[in-house]
């Protein structure tokens, strides 16, 4: 038996393409977000409410990732922003190459903010850098307060946590303080927002933060 030493990162190819994406975003001075959550937590609803509030202040483009259908792209296209739909055909996460192909269709020089909505999945997207400035994890009150401890990877890789569906708190057995505590135990640096896309609660704070981040990149 002989041995060939390799010592290479398995995801190095993805990381290299993500670095190219990041470099492109920097060149165009745009802020790129990677939004991750389990299916049904409210990523697209959060995006719709965000577009309502920010589309006249910021130039925004969206990349939608889904296993099947272009339902989400059609939902956000109603706000008159450029949208590219990626259908992964079973793939459980977006990879940097898919995003690179998608943004070829976007006029990056003409936007301030690119939002990449990942495939609904709290596990796999954690491992795949897409070139974003930061990951936002959306967690809804109906999912239960123990999720940060059950899926720590994504909470560790994220910079921002949006706790959505706060309007349902009276009806679900979710301890909001415990949810936040669990998330911060996993990642003490997480910035936490609480939103309801139904009542609009908390959306102003989220949008103000987002606009501030975009302004910082373009300053």
């Amino acid at each position: 038996m002989s041995v060939i030493t390799i010592e290479r990162k398995i995801l190095e190819k993805n990381d290299a393409i993500a670095a190219q994406n990041r470099e492109r975003f920097a060149r165009h001075e745009l802020f790129a977000l990677n939004i991750v959550s389990s299916p049904g937590a409210g990523k697209t609803s959060l995006l719709e409410r965000t577009l309502e509030r920010l589309k006249d202040r910021l130039r925004i483009a969206i990349v939608e990732g889904d296993v099947q259908t272009d339902f989400d792209a059609r939902r956000v296209a109603r706000y008159g922003v450029p949208v590219v739909q990626i259908v992964t055909n079973g793939g459980c996460h977006l990879e940097a190459q898919l995003v690179q192909d998608a943004i070829d269709a976007v006029d990056l020089g003409g936007i301030d903010l690119l939002v990449i909505e990942n495939v609904g999945n709290l596990v796999c997207p954690a491992n795949y850098d897409l070139g974003e400035a930061l990951k936002v994890v959306v967690l809804s009150t109906t999912e239960g307060d123990d999720k940060p401890l059950k899926y720590p990877g994504i909470f560790r890789h994220a910079s921002v946590l949006v706790i959505n569906k706060t309007d349902l708190l009276p009806y679900v057995p979710c301890d909001l303080d415990a949810m936040k505590r669990h998330a911060l135990d996993v990642n003490p640096a997480l910035l936490v927002f609480e939103t309801s896309c139904t009542t609009g609660d908390g959306l102003a704070a989220w949008c103000d933060w987002l606009a501030g981040e975009v302004a910082r990149v373009r300053a």
């Binding site: 038996m1 002989s2 041995v3 030493t5 390799i6 290479r8 491992n127 003490p188």
Partner: protein, 120 residues
């Protein structure tokens, strides 16, 4: 279930490192997986076995090197292991915790059968 993609990347890396004439001699593919890498070893083993089947690398098999989580407390500098999802410093309970090991996902090396004519 992103192990299939990970298995494909493993095979691509092995293919790039082994001279084509030696592909059929590849046996153990040693992969280092951190406890927090988010990859299920059994599933990766299954996926790699499935995708090498119709390639010259069909005799390759996965050998795992698991890496436990090691953390360092930015507050007091203590190094400690952690099995749970939440990291708290067992000494000072405060400060920011940095994970210094446990996130690995690497191809370490491959072992080749050097006997002429392949396996006996």
């Amino acid at each position: 279930m992103h192990e299939m993609g990970v298995a494909q990347s493993v095979l691509d890396i092995v293919r790039g490192a082994v001279p084509p004439a030696r592909a059929a001699d590849v046996r153990a593919v040693r992969v280092r997986i951190g406890q927090m890498a988010g990859v299920l070893p059994e599933s990766l083993d299954f996926c790699l076995g499935a995708i090498v089947m119709d390639t010259p690398f069909r005799s390759a098999y996965l050998v795992l090197e698991r890496v436990p989580v090691t953390c360092v407390c930015a507050g007091c500098g203590l190094r400690f292991g952690s099995d749970g999802p939440a990291f708290a410093c067992p000494s000072c309970r405060a400060g920011r915790i940095r994970m210094v090991a446990g996130g690995e996902l690497q191809v370490v090396d491959v072992e080749l059968d050097d006997r002429p004519g392949g396996p006996a």
